[in-house]
């Protein structure tokens, strides 16, 4: 029932191999041994090689596979219906899973809540900050990375790599997480180039490749010369933009190989930090914390290594922005107005302030509407 904001230092202390392994996606052999054999089940909503959300998890999961005595079992393309509950139950009943990780937002309510109640001896962790100790079972919990911090860095690099200062953003749905990423790109861009704008088009669906391509083309036609996005699998957006000869910033996982000419950098989750911590704790037989959240200050997000599209000034400014975020420099420096002129952020908020989790607006400088 603890809320852990794990710090880099405690993580280093917690296991000799901890961070060293975190830095290498495919892991080293580890001296640690789980005290007893543990089977860990992971459920993904899409394919493990989607260049996006699922791939980010699956790549990190490779680290857990290297822990002796830990068996990782995985299932991909599991929809957010009772199929996910049945998949998890099947892992518990047929494979003896003791820890189940659900990596899609819609798995939580009601499916994982019901399962945690039904199987009190099994641990469940869900990749979103939804768990509430007053409402939900104690063997359930969540983990989440604030990716908007890496999008802020994208904004910095994009503004200084762009000729026009117009950044295009292909977004899935106008929900708080997505809005926060759009607003963070804008604030990052304006931190180094006060006249920068972000033009956004919502596709309305998490995965709608045709509309994503149309939106990308429309943004390029509107004069945007850097395109970034928040959709499940950014492959189509990045490839379309590269084909049109504009620069790109990625999302979720590394899309650098898709845009050899125009890739600047991208916002990536660093799930391996969490999964390595879980592995270390399991190896020692410790109880897992219910909630783990973080961002740059505790090594839970990162930016993709700079591509050919990044200018030297952009790289320098983005590196400085990363150092700032690591030191806890706030992104949302108030007061800030939305793009209709209302003050929506009254003061400066810490990057993890729950106030920001309920964001329902686009800031001044974003061209677009959420309705």
């Amino acid at each position: 029932m603890t809320v852990t904001r794990l710090s880099r230092r405690s993580l280093l202390k917690s296991g000799a191999a901890g961070l060293a392994t975190a830095a290498l996606p495919f892991g080293l052999s580890r001296p640690a041994m789980a005290q007893e054999a543990l089977t860990l089940g992971v459920v993904y909503v899409g394919p493990r090689d989607d260049f996006g959300w699922n791939q980010a998890h699956a790549v990190a999961m490779e680290i857990l596979k290297s822990v002796p005595n830990v068996t990782v079992i995985e299932e991909e393309n599991v929809p957010e219906t009772d199929a996910c509950a049945k998949s998890m139950e099947s892992m518990i009943n047929l494979d003896g899973a003791k820890l189940v990780l659900g990596t899609s937002f819609g798995y939580f309510d009601p499916f994982m809540i019901d399962l945690a109640t039904k199987y009190p001896d099994i641990q469940f962790r869900h990749a979103a900050p939804l768990w509430n100790k007053d409402k939900h079972p104690a063997n359930l919990g969540g983990y989440f990375c604030y990716l908007n911090q890496a999008h802020y860095v994208d904004g910095v690099a994009a503004a200084l790599s762009s000729a026009s200062g117009k950044i295009g953003f292909v977004a899935a749905k106008p929900i708080p997480t997505v809005l926060s990423n759009i607003n963070s790109v804008l604030l990052g861009a304006r931190s180094v180039r006060p006249d920068a704008t972000v033009q956004v088009i919502f596709t309305g669906e998490w995965s709608m490749p045709v509309r994503e391509a149309e939106a990308t083309n429309a943004l390029v036609d509107a004069g945007c010369d850097v395109i970034t996005c928040h959709v499940d699998g950014p492959k189509v957006v990045i490839e379309t933009a590269e084909g049109r000869g504009v620069k790109t910033c990625g999302h979720n996982a590394s899309q650098a190989p898709l845009a050899p000419k125009g890739f600047i950098t991208g916002a990536e989750y660093k799930w391996e930090t969490i999964y390595t911590m879980y592995a270390d704790m399991l190896a020692k037989g410790e109880a897992l914390p219910n909630v783990v959240v973080g961002g740059y200050h505790n090594d839970m997000v990162r930016n993709t290594p700079y591509g050919a599209g990044a200018t030297p000034e952009a790289i320098a400014a983005a590196d400085a922005a990363i150092e700032g975020l690591k030191a806890g420099k706030p992104i949302y420096v108030g007061p800030l107005k939305d793009n209709a002129g209302n003050v929506v952020i009254d003061k400066t908020y810490d990057n993890y302030d729950p106030f920001l989790d309920g964001m329902g607006y686009l800031l001044e400088g974003v061209i677009g509407s959420i309705t």
């Binding site: 991909e76 599991v78 219906t81 099947s90 892992m91 047929l94 819609g106 979103a128 309305g204």
Partner: protein, 367 residues
């Protein structure tokens, strides 16, 4: 072929009626076995053991009480969407709008449930009303297609497919706007109906009541389509609508009635998704049950009773899909490949109809 009396065949097959039944059963079974053999070759090519595969399908689909319930739970919506395809198919229409009717029906049920729950209506009353709402909504949607077909000669396959997109967009419009629960920030949904109002499982099991509803409807619709004048008229229309019209059959009404039944079945599936599974309407309702129902119905040759069996088979393949991914390290698409193979081979096997001598009436023999 020999004279029936002297032929060394099982006595049952001596009766032409039983021959017809045997043919109906044998051809899909032959298709299934063929698909299994072809699929085994595919597995061998991948360096996997087919026997292990089929053992895992058995273990994951039927091997334990948990597996069996997993299978039946997954079969529940497929029975209803299978029926939604089969009934129009009997009257000669290729209606593929069950997905839309399911989504819109489920959404309508959830939307009606919100004020009913807020007003403190008794759970049973609320469930009956929302079930009615879901069925009427689904029926109305597919009846539009039926009317377009009969009244305006619009291709029903295209119309029902396009209406499905409109249905999904309509649900998204309301779920993300007017009817959105403010608490559902990152996954727009309607207000949850709450545990007290949700349908529990069938006692002694974890399978929801949608399975029982599917069974009952399958039997009722089988009776309707094979044992009543309505069913006879529908089958005649399916055989030749012009001839049916010439005979004075009310073809338009029959098409509308079959469309309504189709939409109601799919809408009911949506009702169970909302009241037994999700407790609210959101994008998770769009799970492809309507489209899988098409395969189920084809495999069952649009026979309502056979749909139950085929839906259970598909439920088992899906229930064991995860186990296969985990144990054999095969991709998720494996189950889809198997389903696709079954479908294609089954369609091809239709050509065997009337060509296997064993099943032909003795009087058919050519001199």
């Amino acid at each position: 072929m020999e004279q029936a009396q002297s032929a060394p065949m099982p006595r049952l097959l001596a009766n032409p009626r039983w021959k017809a039944v045997a043919e109906t059963v044998a051809i899909p079974v032959i298709a299934l076995v063929t698909a299994a053999i072809v699929f085994s070759g595919f597995l061998l090519f991948l360096g996997k053991n087919p026997l292990q595969f089929f053992a895992l399908v058995w273990q994951g689909g039927f091997g334990s009480a948990f597996s069996l319930q997993n299978t039946l739970q997954r079969a529940a919506p497929l029975i209803l969407t299978g029926l939604a395809f089969a009934i129009p198919a009997i009257i000669g229409l290729t209606m593929i709008g069950a997905e839309g009717a399911l989504v819109l029906g489920g959404f309508a049920a959830a939307a009606l449930a919100v004020p009913l729950v807020a007003a403190g209506s008794p759970p049973m009353l609320m469930l009956v009303l929302t079930a009615g709402m879901a069925m009427c909504t689904g029926a109305a949607l597919i009846m539009i297609v039926g009317w377009l077909r009969h009244g305006r000669q619009v291709n029903e396959t295209i119309a029902s497919l396009l209406l499905t997109y409109i249905a999904i967009a309509t649900m998204n419009f309301f779920v993300e706007g007017l009817l959105r629960d403010p608490a559902s920030a990152n996954k727009p949904s309607t207000v949850p109906i709450g545990k007290d109002y949700m349908i529990g499982p069938i006692p002694g099991t974890e399978v929801h009541w949608g399975f029982a509803a599917g069974l009952v409807l399958a039997v009722l619709l089988w009776l309707l389509m094979s044992r009543t004048t309505f069913g006879f008229a529908a089958r005649v229309t399916g055989g030749n609508p012009r001839a049916a019209q010439a005979q004075g059959l009310p073809v338009g009404m029959l098409i509308l009635a079959c469309s309504a039944i189709s939409g109601a079945c799919a809408g009911l599936a949506g009702f169970y998704e909302v009241t037994a599974i999700h407790g609210q309407a959101n994008a998770s309702l769009v799970a492809g049950f309507g489209f899988t129902g098409i395969l189920v119905s084809f495999l069952a040759r649009h026979n309502p009773l056979a749909i139950v069996i085929v839906a259970i088979l598909f439920g088992a393949i899906e229930a064991s899909g995860g186990l296969i991914q985990r144990r054999m390290d095969l991709p998720d698409a494996t189950a889809a490949v198997l389903q696709g193979l079954i479908f294609v081979i089954l369609l091809a096997s239709e050509t065997l109809q009337g060509r296997i001598a064993l099943f032909q009436p003795a009087s058919d023999k050519r001199a």
